[in-house]
């Protein structure tokens, strides 16, 4: 079981949350080239290292937040920050 520190609800079982992968900015759909858009859709960093990622507190506060997790050891480094849906602006 992975305890994910939600900024509003405190540590929660990862089963209570939804994972949204690497946290990266969404390009503007109106001006992005097809290449930029597809890179945004399909290419994510997949390191065996620290990764800044987005989570959604599905059965708690129902908010998105970002945090840094080590994908090898499952440690959390930075305090979780309130965030938006992955890549999107509020």
């Amino acid at each position: 079981m992975l305890l994910v520190p939600c900024p509003n609800c405190g540590p929660r079982n990862s089963a209570d949350l939804r994972y949204f992968g690497e946290s990266h900015e969404r390009p503007n759909p109106a001006s992005a080239s097809p290449h930029e858009w597809r890179s945004y859709l399909y290419l994510e960093d997949n390191p065996a290292d620290w990764l800044k990622e987005s989570w959604f507190c599905r059965s708690g506060c129902r908010r998105y937040f970002t945090l840094e997790r080590h994908t090898g050891t499952n440690e959390f480094r930075s305090p979780p920050m309130p965030g938006n849906k992955v890549g999107g602006k509020a």
Partner: protein, 433 residues
């Protein structure tokens, strides 16, 4: 590292087994251990079933034997030794069906081809449907399969009960069994023997296997990225923990670690690494004659010849390079399996483990050439890599030898993501129906 003299490998046979048993002879090593050379024609990174099959078919079909297979651990230490050893070809897309069917054909004749008992058991494969929607998908899959001459049909609960009496086919459970997609050619195989068989066959033809040899970097010249890497570049070799190697062709067959290797060449892959957990019970008398899969319940069950039940599930819900098991998984697995087979509630789990899956957005692999000249990929195999091992090796060997992409894998190229031509394979094991 001791250098063993190369002698003609002993042919395995029943007579040889008896003779060696009576004489008390020791068995010769299955493959040589030789020092790493300075250069090879082809370097294959990853000593699993994909890497070894590629090396084997390069040597047998194309006569290319100056090949090194590198693995940072031991052969078959990754997904090849961690999967649930199920083979089948009843996929959903025509591309997928044609591809996995070729693999199944190669598995069928493998024991004779490799002179290795791979214990292929063609016991039949049953995918259960618990909802009307799932049943509809089963009919769809059955029709796609029939069109391609794959033996696959939808059966009703009475037939399911006949094939596997331990399943609860009553109307009471939360997930009643409404029918199943039955695929008689599917079955199980001993995955370690497949790895060893390919390694032994490749070794006999001159291919070198280097275990505990970690690739630290890939050298590329002329690319558009930093250090001359990236698109437009040409591979010149690899740096390993045992020294540098120059090679015009480097093949990435590293499954869960695929992005770490391809990042070294400056090639970005649309892959995320997720563990898939599996577990095995204590052995009991054989009672489950077929492989049973439930997409809705995310579980697949088969019984080994020793009598253990092997369970697999879907991939974990977040990216991870850790192969530790979790309690969440065990709880969920147990409740799902008991939903199907209430009679085994007193059985105990012996152990659980995880393997790393390289998931692509469309559940289809990434195979063939990349924007870096001489750097090829055979990755993105997610939850279906083992059953595709032989055909992937065969097709990748063809790619390397002829410098052309064969028809069978042309749909799986890396450029499909840029072109928006994804191959959505919803017959994959990780996908609910």
């Amino acid at each position: 590292m001791g250098v063993l003299q190369k002698s003609k490998p002993a042919r395995y046979s029943a007579v040889g087994l008896v003779r060696r048993g009576l004489r008390g002879d020791t068995w010769p090593r299955v493959w040589r251990e030789v020092p790493l050379k300075k250069s090879y024609d082809v370097v294959i990174i990853g000593g699993g079933v994909h890497g070894l099959a590629t090396a084997y078919y390069l040597a047998t079909n194309h006569g290319i034997t100056d090949v090194a297979v590198l693995d940072k651990a031991y052969l078959g230490s990754g997904g090849s030794g961690r999967n649930t050893a199920i083979v089948r070809s009843n996929y959903l897309t025509p591309e997928g069906v044609a591809f996995y069917d070729r693999s199944l054909q190669l598995y069928k004749t493998m024991a004779a081809d490799l002179n290795m008992n791979v214990m292929f058991s063609e016991r039949g494969h049953m995918t259960l449907a618990h909802t009307d929607g799932a049943l509809r998908t089963m009919h769809w899959r059955a029709e796609v399969n029939k069109l391609q001459n794959i033996n696959s049909s939808v059966i009703d609960p009475a037939e399911v009960k006949k094939l596997a009496p331990s399943l609860d086919t009553s109307s009471h459970p939360r997930y009643p069994i409404l029918g199943a997609l039955y695929h008689p050619p599917g079955g199980t195989i001993r995955h370690d023997a497949v790895v060893w068989g390919y390694a032994r066959g490749a070794d006999a033809r001159g291919v070198e296997m280097h275990q505990k040899t970690e690739v630290l970097d890939i050298t590329v010249e002329g690319g558009s990225g930093p250090d001359g890497k990236g698109p437009g570049g040409t591979v010149t070799g690899v740096r390993t923990s045992k020294g540098d190697i120059s090679a015009p062709i480097v093949v990435n067959c590293t499954a869960g670690w695929a992005t770490l290797i391809s990042d070294m060449a400056g090639v970005r892959l649309p892959i995320s690494t997720r563990p898939l957990q599996a577990a095995v019970t204590e052995p009991v008398k054989v009672f489950l004659p077929t492989v049973v899969v439930s997409g809705s319940l995310h579980v697949y069950v088969s019984q080994t010849d020793r009598g253990e039940l092997v369970f697999g599930a879907s991939v974990d819900p977040f990216n991870n390079y850790s192969v530790r098991g979790s309690l969440d998984f065990t709880e969920e697995l147990a409740s799902h399996v008991l939903e199907l087979m209430p009679g085994i509630s007193r059985m105990r789990l012996l152990r659980q483990w995880a393997g790393l899956c390289d998931m692509t957005p469309d559940y289809s692999p990434v195979m063939g050439f990349t924007p870096v000249q001489g750097f090829l990929c055979d990755v993105g195999w997610g939850t279906y890599g083992f059953k595709a091992g032989p055909v992937s090796g065969e097709q990748m060997a063809y790619c390397i030898a002829t410098n052309e992409t064969p028809e069978l894998i042309s749909a799986f190229n890396l450029s499909r993501f840029a072109a928006g031509e994804l191959v959505g394979e919803k017959g994959a094991a990780a996908v609910g129906h």
